[in-house]
Symmetry: C2
Subunit: 251 residues, 2 copies
Amino acid sequence: MIARAQSGVYAYHHVAEEITAQILRGDLKPGDQLPGEAELGTRFGVTRSTLREALRQLESDGLVHRPSPRRLEVSVPQADLLTSRAGRAMALMKVTFRELWEVTMLTEPLAARIAAERAAMAEIESLQGLHAELVAAEGDMARTLDLDEQFHTRLADIGGNRVLGLAREPIALLLFRGFARIAPHAPQFFRRQIEAHSHIVAAIRDRDANRAEKWARKHIEDFWRGAQIAGLEDAIARNPGALSPPAAAMD
Amino acid sequence: MIARAQSGVYAYHHVAEEITAQILRGDLKPGDQLPGEAELGTRFGVTRSTLREALRQLESDGLVHRPSPRRLEVSVPQADLLTSRAGRAMALMKVTFRELWEVTMLTEPLAARIAAERAAMAEIESLQGLHAELVAAEGDMARTLDLDEQFHTRLADIGGNRVLGLAREPIALLLFRGFARIAPHAPQFFRRQIEAHSHIVAAIRDRDANRAEKWARKHIEDFWRGAQIAGLEDAIARNPGALSPPAAAMD
DNA sequence: CAATGGCGTAGTGTCGGACGCTAGGGGAGG
DNA sequence: CCTCCCCTAGCGTCCGACACTACGCCATTG
């Protein structure tokens, strides 16, 4: 079953699409191990070089990965991969603060609401812990930024809506990083942030979804006011790089 | 400046990261043309084979593309690329209807609201045209599905919030495709859909953002009722493949 | 008998070279 | 000056090779 390239369709592209199709169709399931490159190559009628180009694409799409250098297996795309790709794209297309904010005004309140409805005790405690750290970090900008991100991400995780998680993560990250540009112009921001977060945590503890949602909304609204004060309502989101999560330090 | 691979860091990976960094940093701007593979290879101290693996990754990330086979240039990731990647991922992680719906309940009303606030005359007319087609297609399931997707996508485009567009597209697509499973159980659905759409269009024409938003919400709420009737509230979203736009038929 | 350590192999990452094909530029001809 | 044709650079693909290293196998040892 030699795969001869039709005009315009490159072999590596064809191979990648074929394997992708097999995965989406379910012929290959996440966790399945794939044969070696040599065999895959002959199987599709291409050389290893060509096959490897296809693999790089699949890898980049998160459809396969190597848990160990000798093992190549099918996987479901990791959230942080999608997050960084989407974040990069938004940064490159120079989305504005307003665009980010308008959407965040939806996602964070929903995240808070769902969390209030579904949080388990342990999760609430973990949120409280995070919040305590935030309070303790008052004044330390970098740390505050980091903890804020974590807080919102965990909030979303607690709700358990993965679609929401996927959609909001890159957006929230870009927006929150803008915080760094706002804070200097709005010093009262730290306090208001802490206040909002603690109301959210309290509401979740009380299982009061409406209150949680309301405070999340206020929190993000505040953000917008800060941006106005700082005069970057329609400023573009910068700092494209380093979007991936803290990420196991490795390099 | 030979790039010798540090332990664990592969040459192709390093090259891809390096070029990516240059793009994000702004050293390379969208539209810039890159040198030939041979030169790029020597520049990074790797063979063409290796360099090509890096290129496949960048290409897959949408950071570079070939407008013509001879020209390789930097580009900002295309929306439909991100859409299909995200859609695939969600399908593979078997997100439920509920998850999709919860988020869509936010995105579509916002899209309608913004559209009402910002639509230009021509855009309103184009929406009306699309709606007219939908009305005419009553009964034709496939066509209805397609037009519905188009309607919502155009609605979002009109608002001009690219972040919203990027976030909602894969989600809406997956959800709306579920329509195919709902419709048979809820025949009155076609009519209600048409009703909702026409209210939305009318509200936008009248520049009534609240009404537009309200009807969009009702529209998506309806969708959920349909899902309940069809008994697939927590059914997983299937049909992972064919998420990309109509797409030139090829294979 | 189980645990430990060494050995061999298969398989990956990278290299170098080669060849056909085609897009696109440059020169010849109108 | 414009048009057409030829030539070449560069891409897609193939082939063959080599170093390095997980990993399984086997023998040794307590």
